[in-house]
Symmetry: C2
Subunit: 110 residues, 2 copies
């Protein structure tokens, strides 16, 4: 068993996303066989890339407010929201509030 | 894409665990191909079963305090902790605080 606080894990800059960091909390290095759990932080006014990929996201909003941008529109989210992004769905997490947006994002291990 | 707040999902009683509820937030019904995301709540003094199974848990503590019971001891946890329980590890989430323990728990779909 492993227990570690996200505050004790060094945040890494997210590729091609100024103002966005990622903490890899549970990965194959911990023995995870199927999926990885990360914590993202997005500064006010920043956003993850508007992109697509072959795997899904299962996210959970811990703090802050923002919206999920898709090809056909935007959906607001807030603390306590679970967010599912299907494989190949183009998406972007946007912080449109004035505080840090923090969320968990789980992805399958390749 | 799906966005839904855990407060809008009806909690279900967890089997063989008085004082424990589960909300199935993202499942195969939402189109999830690999893993399910749930939100558990454990009342003060309550606990999940002390049990084992073939799949892992990747959890994240949202609120409250408690400890993870294992065969060889106990590990305290608090808000902001990520918890990894490997397949076949005997485990129990115990709320030893005086407020509700709330955590996310992700499991692989069978």
């Amino acid at each position: 068993m492993i227990v570690k606080n996200y505050r004790q894990v060094t945040p890494e800059a997210a590729a091609e996303a100024p103002g966005v960091t990622v903490r890899w909390m549970i990965t194959e290095k911990d023995g995870a066989p199927n999926f990885a759990l990360r914590v993202f932080e997005v500064e006010p006014g920043a956003a993850t890339p508007f992109h697509t990929h072959a795997w899904e996201h299962e996210a959970f909003i811990l703090a802050g407010t923002g919206h999920l941008r898709a090809v056909d529109g935007e959906t607001p989210f807030r603390e306590g929201d679970a967010v599912f992004v299907a494989p190949e769905e183009k998406h972007q997490f946007v912080n449109d509030g004035d505080t840090v947006l923090r969320f968990i994002c789980v992805i399958p291990l390749q």
